[in-house]
Amino acid sequence: MSKRIEVNDLDVYYSKFLAVEGVSLTIEPRTVTALIGPSGCGKSTFLRTLNRMHEVIPGARVDGEVLIDGNNLYGPGVDPVLVRRQVGMVFQRPNPFPTMSIGDNVLAGVKLNNRRMPKSEGDDLIEKSLRGANLWNEVKDRLDKPGSSLSGGQQQRLCIARAIAVQPDVILMDEPCSALDPISTLAIEDLIEEMKTDFTIVIVTHNMQQASRVSDRTAFFNIAGTGKPGKLIEYDDTTTIFSNPTVQATEDYVSGRFG
């Protein structure tokens, strides 16, 4: 179910402003990759280009190629909707649909796409996805309650359940724990560890301990200054990045000397 992602010489522009420059990296299947770096260095922008979500922002465009198992996301005739069905995303702030119940939120990917699904199959998918997101035991008795009735951490796990219910190959997470308390954060980190067996996961985080706890590989982004494009400085095994980085800037950042 998981796929390899290859990024070749990717530039991202907001209108004329070059936001991210010359990123090339390869993400192996069934791994967790963390993107770290100071604010505004283009981590989230880069993450969004992996499922073309940057196109939601007016004026954003991309040069270069992103290959998922050899298929270029930016090739001619590629439908962003089909891309997003294979590459799911979890956002910084939990955003369950307020008009839907907990169960419907999990099935949102199916229901919103007008696909019909027998009730029993739907129930199975709800249970499977909620179990996958470690939320089943907490909500199994109130699946018909609105999604906004859950706590922040539960809502975020609901959003993860919603993302895995459409059975993507890759899951992108944009600072999924930044709005959560330490206990909920721990729950989600455990979840990421379990999900690694099925999905390729790319996670943006501001929390370096989190990066070192959950990820196999880490990419460090940095900017030279305001108005300059963000660049990929170093990409290596997480242990190497945190113990023995080759670039001085990386060492300064992970040791807390700046950023």
């Binding site: 956002f91 955003n95 008009t99 949102a108 229901k111 796409n113 009735s149």
Partner: protein, 363 residues
């Protein structure tokens, strides 16, 4: 009056301040009224004025209340609390003043309209062949419901789709142009809308005397569409972008995101907006007088012949009174009362719908 003014316990705690006793505001108000009333009573007894001056008592009493309250509070509680009390008093007075016309209007309409409104024939008969008392307004009620209903059917799809275009798709000059002209359209005098519909249909059918209900619906739509666009646009803008992004990230196409996520989330507000726009046009008289005309007979066909509507009925009963003038005036009031009740029912329905559809919160 000075008995209401007592300073509370001696200040020992450095955080306490002087405080007027509870209800002092009300006491000062009553006292002010009493003082001014006494003044006017003396003047009246002296024979200067003709009868007791009620309006003067209320007005000058209230002015005195503001001044007195400010001064008492200033000397006891200090300038900050005094200003607070003064502004609170002014805001409350403004609210009461704003309510007076409304209550007076509803009261007058109910009192004057009830006799004819309670006539058994009012909701079952038209004015056909009625010269004195009797008959009813069924033709006008049906006409208003038909004409406004059709206007809603025309305006809501156009207005809602325009709003969706503006919030979800519109960029650049076209969207700016549409927004500008929608703003211009909200300011169109209703008579112009009526003349527009009249000119349109008299030219189309080459009939300078054309009158029919559908024309009225068109005229009302011209007035209604900008209101629907404006209110729906505001409601759609309130839907958080995160919800749209969440749907896109699940691989949902844009049009399905709009239909299944954005619209349901904003539905309560949109319904309220539509109801407000209906209330806005249901009372229009001028355009309907021009293009829908008036008649004393029933007409269930929007597409031929004159059609009576409630506002025109009210105007017509009042403007062309017959031999039994009181019966006509009574019917005019009853028509106005019916119109107010219809608008009230619509607003209640809107509240109900908004409550049913609004996103559910809480555990």
């Amino acid at each position: 009056m000075s008995t209401t003014l007592t300073v509370s316990a001696p200040v020992t705690n450095s955080l306490t301040a002087g405080k007027l006793p509870k209800n002092s505001s009300l006491m000062v108000l009553l006292a002010s009224w009493l003082v001014v009333a006494a003044f006017f009573l003396v003047i009246n007894l002296a024979g200067v004025t003709d009868g007791f001056n009620w309006a003067g008592t209320l007005f000058f009493g209230t002015v005195l209340y503001c001044i007195a309250l400010f001064l008492f509070s200033y000397f006891v509680e200090g300038i900050r609390r005094a200003k607070d009390r003064l502004v609170t008093a002014l805001v409350t007075i403004a609210f009461v003043v704003a309510l007076i016309p409304l209550i007076s209007l509803v009261g007058t309409t109910v009192i004057n309209g009830l006799p004819a409104f309670l006539t058994p024939t009012f909701f079952t008969e038209s004015q056909r062949n009625v010269v004195g008392a009797g008959g009813g307004a069924l033709h006008a009620i049906v006409g208003t419901l038909f004409v406004t209903g059709l206007a809603t059917l025309i305006s809501v799809p156009i207005g809602l789709l325009t709003a969706i275009y503006l919030t979800e798709y519109g960029i650049g000059r076209l969207a700016k142009g549409i927004t500008f002209f929608v703003d211009v359209m909200t300011g169109i005098p209703s008579i112009v809308a009526g003349l527009f519909a009249y000119a349109l249909f008299s030219l189309l059918f080459d009939d300078p005397g054309i009158r029919f209900g559908f024309g009225g619906s068109i005229a009302l739509s011209v007035l209604m569409i900008p209101v629907v666009v404006r209110s729906s646009e505001e409601m759609l803008k309130l839907v958080p972008n995160e919800l749209r992004e969440a749907a896109y990230a699940l691989g949902v196409p844009k049009w399905l995101t709009i239909v299944k996520v954005v619209l349901p989330t904003a539905l309560a507000g949109i319904v309220t907006g539509v109801m407000i726009s209906i209330s806005r046009v249901i009372g229009e008289t001028a355009p309907l007088l021009i293009i829908a005309g008036f008649t004393a007979s029933m007409n269930y066909d929007l597409f031929s012949e004159r059609m009576m509507t409630l506002p025109v009925f009210v105007y017509n009963q009042y403007a062309s009174q017959g031999t039994d003038a009181q019966a006509y005036v009574d019917r005019a009031w009853a028509g106005a009362l019916t119109l107010i009740l219809i608008v009230m029912l619509l607003n209640l329905a809107a509240r109900l719908i908004a409550r049913v559809f609004s996103p559910k919160l809480g555990r």
